[in-house]
Symmetry: C2
Subunit: 111 residues, 2 copies
Amino acid sequence: MRSLAHPALHDITLAGILHALSDETRVAIFAGIAGSACAQRCAAYATVSEKPVPKSTLSQHFKALREAGLIRSERQGVAMHNTSRCAEIETRFPGLIPAIIGAYLAEAESR
Amino acid sequence: MRSLAHPALHDITLAGILHALSDETRVAIFAGIAGSACAQRCAAYATVSEKPVPKSTLSQHFKALREAGLIRSERQGVAMHNTSRCAEIETRFPGLIPAIIGAYLAEAESR
DNA sequence: TTCGATAGTTCCGGAAACTAGAACTATTGA
DNA sequence: TCAATAGTTCTAGTTTCCGGAACTATCGAA
């Protein structure tokens, strides 16, 4: 397995973030990771919003979030530990992630 | 020309907004419209960030912004008047658009 | 009322991106 | 060494995106 690529903070772009989060499944995964105190395994999201997500698709989604700079993934034994990079991003784009998470929660609640 | 479709406020989705703004050209156009007091013609964005944008592509971009609910377009004689729907969206997703515009400006400034 | 100019839209083919099944790789525990 | 677990990569079918060419709508002459 090749080493996982994480962009440096200054390589994270707004368009990249918005694109990564413009997918229902990915924004749900990211909200879950960002809202959790502890690291999350990929497999924790084998079903998202009551829909099963195939393994390969899930892997692609995590890759997209990783390459956008939204999460950090580290192998821990056989599993993967995923944590959000919210704090870092906050220094570059203050208020952006909280606003998106807020909108996500508002939308989820109204459904 | 068929009448232009604008989604109702409650049909505007977060994913739709993020997708529409996940394109460099579109977010630049939207920031221009949102930051302007008066309505903007499509042709005002025939070049964005010093890159020329083909007419057909520009039309598609405006359509994407319109269908995401971000702008309102009305024919005014031979031209189109485009205005942002920021105020409406603010009631549904408070703080979202300002945060994105802020991030866009921060990124534009750092380049 | 026809002609020309202007401003967008639609059509369409090639390019790029997304989805998900199948096969593969890495790590751990028996 | 083997089996199980957790992800990744390969690949093909589908969908979406880009931009040139052709089309439509509106207005202002003449």
